[in-house]
């Protein structure tokens, strides 16, 4: 990263990318690295401009589908190859690394995954299209009539969080489907969204197709009020505020769990479970935060802690640190929260070892492993943004109840009835069968396919269809 470090000290400007070009505002917010140093000056969009942008987007027709696909492919390349806003891809990754907390290789891996998300957005989106639905009414009128996959609205607001650069992948599918998108980036990590939208524009998308409008929290209602649909990412607070709206899809908390059936607690299973806990810096919603063990959960927790400790090893003070690097204040708040809330749990790794000051500033968090004795203990729902896992005993008699309210459950079991039950449990979003919870790709549904939310099916029947049906 030597070349990248040359620029990583400069404060870069991140202006708005509006429906009418680039605009810097008087309202600016400084984006700080986890070590406290200023990295970017972020323009903030006033409500009037946010509204003007989205109304202009509503009035603009989308590019034709094939052009969108072509421009997305080019934008993906430009995202990787171009100097954008003065930054090469490598320099861009250095900035993201310094705010996001992901280590250097994870930052690059996730940033490359964004490029894939841009290029593959049309195909990923199309996976949600039902068998009975065509992409275009023109096809439908040629035949006996068909469902046609149709946008539910024209404009989408994307209110992003900063956990991972790949948070862009959702709204990119909307863009691929012809939505005009207003992106409100995370103010903690506003770099990736900027680079994506600038690359889209360089590749041929018009200013009205995707706009970049950072705002404070106070600016969110204007975005949600003007756009037809919205994707909003956040925790329980966001879920409770917007979860009931049919026009808002909330990317909510994960509470992802792994169930270790008897016979799966051996050394060969531990690697995948450790991976589920600690991949992606342990900050993603697909990271396992609770493990339910059929058998000796305390011994299993000790073994898992051993593997995680070994993986963290000497890395924690290098650029390869396992957990995320966060600000000192964030570390203090999280560890303080653990100390208070986890007093009835047993800390398999002493809390003092969970926070390690990093030589470049900030604190590296995790791994943390706790045990509780009751599979219904509320602590199992604790989801913190670093490798932190709660281990409890489980028996067949406990059933699916302790596994409820999970984005992903990895069932390491041969019990087909249990897998059936997990699949049919409404509060479980995704089921893995002996595959790490972090294993997924953009082709799989995450909280359903995005197309389920963005699209609807309309019957289109042409004159060639023939006689009326009755």
């Amino acid at each position: 990263m030597a070349a990248a470090d040359d620029k990583a000290g400069d404060v870069v400007a991140l202006p708005l990318l509006t429906h009418r070009g680039v605009r810097s505002t008087r309202a600016q917010e400084i984006v700080h690295a986890v070590d406290g140093s200023p990295l970017a000056s972020l323009s903030l969009s006033p409500d009037l401009l946010t509204s003007q942008s989205i109304l202009a987007q509503k009035d603009a027709a989308p590019l034709p589908a094939h052009e969108r696909a072509k421009c997305l492919a080019e934008a993906a390349q430009r995202f990787l190859d171009d100097v954008i806003g003065g930054l090469s891809f490598k320099e861009h990754c250095a900035y993201v690394n310094r705010v996001s907390g992901h280590n250097v290789p994870v930052t690059e891996q996730l940033s490359r995954a964004v490029a894939a998300g841009i290029a593959e957005a049309p195909d990923r989106a199309d996976r949600a299209r039902p068998n009975g639905s065509l992409r275009s009414w023109r096809e439908a009128v040629e035949g006996p009539g068909s469902g046609v996959w149709t946008r539910r609205g024209e404009t989408l607001a994307a209110v992003l969080s900063g956990n991972a650069p790949t948070i862009q992948n959702g709204w990119l599918q909307a863009l691929a489907l012809g939505y005009r998108v207003a992106v409100r980036p995370s103010r903690r990590e506003p770099f990736t969204a900027y680079r994506v939208i600038a690359a889209l524009r360089a590749a041929g998308f018009r200013d009205t197709d995707a706009v970049y409008l950072p705002t404070t929290h106070a600016g969110v209602p204007a975005l949600l009020g003007r756009a037809d649909l919205a994707l909003v990412y956040g925790g329980d607070d966001v879920k409770s505020r917007y979860g009931s709206s049919p026009t808002v899809k909330v990317g909510g908390p994960g509470r992802t769990k792994t169930l270790v059936g008897s016979g799966y607690s051996g050394a060969s299973s531990l690697g995948g479970i450790a991976e589920s806990v600690s991949a992606l810096s342990g900050a993603a919603c697909v990271n396992t935060t609770a493990v339910l063990v059929e058998g000796d959960h305390a011994r299993f927790a000790a073994d898992l802690a051993g593997v995680l400790r070994e993986r963290a090893g000497e890395r924690q003070t290098t650029a390869q640190h396992l957990g995320p690097r966060v600000t000192e204040q964030a570390a203090e708040a999280l560890i303080g929260h653990l100390r208070r809330s986890a007093s009835r749990a047993h800390a398999v790794i002493p809390l003092d070892e969970v926070a390690v000051p990093h030589p470049d500033g900030g604190v590296v968090l995790g791994p943390a492993v706790f045990t509780v004795d009751d599979p219904h203990d509320g602590l199992l729902a604790t989801e913190l943004p670093f490798p932190c896992v709660w281990v409890a005993p489980w028996t067949k008699a406990d059933g699916v109840a302790p596994l409820r309210n999970s984005l992903v459950v990895n069932a390491m079991t041969d019990d087909a009835d249990l897998i059936d039950a997990l699949l049919h449990e409404p509060s479980i979003t995704n089921v893995h069968v002996d595959a790490p919870t972090v294993h997924s790709d953009g082709n799989l549904p995450h909280e359903g396919y995005l197309g389920d939310f963005l699209m609807r099916n309309k019957a289109v029947v042409g004159s060639r269809t023939g006689a009326p049906s009755h």
Binding site: R26, A27, S45, P46, D47, L48, L49, Q52, G225
Partner: protein
């Protein structure tokens, strides 16, 4: 000879300190003072007639906001004016708790009307042409005083009423003010489409909403010569966007407080809002910019909390801390207190979160 407050109020030139002493004698004399101040006089811990030597000393007085909320209005009226026509009573918006009542005597209303009419003319107000005001009337002063101004300026007044308290309730309960704003825009739209509105006074959020309707922006762009924005904070970026949308229109950002019974005077009425300097009406209405921790004035060019005082025969509001901060600027020659630049809301005041709405 010692001149009375009523004489001094109408004098061509007024010495501020002489005026202050006359006002203290007026408000703290059994014959002329209000029940409220006569009651409070014994609890002050100082003698207002001997211990208040200058405007800087007014900070010794307590904030009387609580009394303005709860006392009968009769207690607020100075006995010295008992024989005069009954005053108008207007209320604050109730942004920081229940509303406060202020007494607007005819003497004050006429004085403020003369100031404002002259200033509007100086700013290029299109006197004689239709004026649309969408500001709170009812219990609030703004909508009522603009009616008098329109008469004085010879302009036909069109109005749409705002209920700021309802909007604040909506927002506080987590609801969107969207339907209410749409209701206002419907009413405004009817007027803008059918009348050649040359002057418009409203709040920044409502104007922003109007500008999102091409059918309304177009007639405004064609006819509007004067735009006053008041009642909610106008940020610099929004102000720029508005100026972009309405080229050639004089835009004023009005700053004031019901607590001092008027709005501030713009040092240069035609200056763009971003550089506006706001003056009081010394010695009637005086601003000070304070460090909220120490209560002492901040240095010129620094931001502090705004204190406003109102001293007239009708009311004595010696120490009213506003829910705003501003940059302290030297007051005009011969004036007491400070002038203000870039006023904006404090994040929270007195424990109650400050809710900005459409007003």
């Amino acid at each position: 000879m010692v001149r009375s407050l009523l004489d001094l109020e109408n004098a061509a030139t007024i010495d501020p300190e002489e005026y202050l002493q006359a006002a203290l004698r007026w408000h703290f004399s059994e014959e002329t003072g209000s029940r409220l101040w006569l009651d409070l006089a014994g609890q002050l811990g100082f003698d207002p007639l001997t211990d208040i030597r200058s405007f800087a000393d007014l900070g010794k007085f307590p904030d009387i906001a609580g009394h303005l909320r709860d006392r009968p209005v009769a207690d607020l009226i100075p006995k010295g004016l008992a024989h005069e026509p009954a005053p108008s009573v207007f209320e604050t918006g109730g942004t920081t708790g229940s509303p406060k009542r202020l007494v607007y005597t005819d003497r004050w209303v006429q004085r403020a009307l003369a100031w404002k009419t002259a200033e509007l003319k100086e700013a290029g107000f299109p006197a004689g042409e239709p004026w649309l005001v969408a500001m709170p009337a009812g219990p609030h002063a703004f909508g009522n005083t603009t009616r008098l101004q329109a008469k004085a300026l010879g302009s036909v007044l069109h109005t749409v009423d705002l209920d700021p308290r309802w909007v604040k309730k909506l927002i506080a309960s987590g609801e969107s003010p969207g339907t209410y704003v749409a209701h206002l825009v419907d009413q405004l739209g009817h007027i803008i489409r059918t009348q050649n509105i040359a002057a418009l006074t409203t709040t920044p959020p409502i104007l922003s909403e109007l500008l999102l309707h091409e059918g309304l922006t177009e007639p405004l762009r064609r006819n509007l010569k004067y735009l006053a924005l008041a009642g909610a904070h106008l940020d610099d970026d929004t102000c720029e966007l508005i100026a972009d949308a309405l080229p050639g229109t004089v835009i004023q950002n009005i700053y004031g407080s019901t607590m001092v019974l008027t709005t501030a005077k713009l040092r240069t009425p035609t200056a763009p809002p971003l550089s506006a300097v706001y003056e009081g009406y010394s010695p009637f209405v005086v601003f000070t910019v304070l460090d909220p921790e120490t209560g002492e004035p901040v240095a010129y060019g620094e931001r502090g909390q705004v204190r406003m005082t109102h001293v007239s025969s009708g009311m004595f509001i010696p120490n009213n801390l506003e829910r705003d901060s501003a940059i302290r600027v030297p007051a005009a020659e011969g004036s007491v207190g400070d002038a203000l630049q870039s006023p904006e809301p404090l994040a929270a005041f007195d424990g109650e979160p400050v809710i900005q709405g459409v007003y």
